[in-house]
Symmetry: C2
Subunit: 112 residues, 2 copies
Amino acid sequence: MSNQEPCCSPLAATPLDAVEAATFAPLFKALGDPVRLRLFSLIASHQGGEACVCDLTDAFDLSGPTISHHLKTLKQSGLVEAERRGTWIYYRIRPEILAQIGALTTVARPVS
Amino acid sequence: MSNQEPCCSPLAATPLDAVEAATFAPLFKALGDPVRLRLFSLIASHQGGEACVCDLTDAFDLSGPTISHHLKTLKQSGLVEAERRGTWIYYRIRPEILAQIGALTTVARPVS
DNA sequence: CATCTGATTCGATGCTTGTCAAGATAGAGA
DNA sequence: TCTCTATCTTGACAAGCATCGAATCAGATG
């Protein structure tokens, strides 16, 4: 909102009001579980930008339903989206949403 | 660690392993509650870089113990630290820890 | 249509968490 | 030392959450 000296993240520039906090907290919360954080990273870094559930399930010692539950949580937060193609369901991240977290937590370094 | 094209956040560059996920997830989790996110932002943006509990409690319709509980959670995550000076206890953020979140979630833009 | 496989939903269970009231602690000042 | 104020701790409770097994759904294929 403001062009200020390269000092503080937006979080430190102006106190978040209750509405803003209620908007952003769920994003942090969704990444606040180790399994979901790994899932998100796995999806984000997967070749082609998307990963099917089978790829993801194999990476954990957890049941299918549990992985499915975490994926649903990530999807509901807006951090990922899913698409069915034939037998498989592919998940990919939504970079705009990730960027919101990045923008909040990073020192604003004005571009040029 | 790597000088890569300005493409992906570290989260998307390489999949986090279980240990890394267990390290970072608690940071996201600590900011994953709207009250704590506002508290953190209030502390970060407070004049002088620190805020006493009395300043913070007044900003919420919550009991003192509840605010104290959230501050303890933030402190245990490493995102803030506290110092007693006389009657009052002052909280301030630890920018290095916030920067870790920023670095994880932001596209690596190599510094010139 | 029957069956197989990938993935989700349902239902249950035990653990974690957000909240408050009441009590405890710590420093300042009379 | 006694009291006042700021803050934390304790104990309790309801709500939320991570997890699993069983059941269900959706395509693909025979």
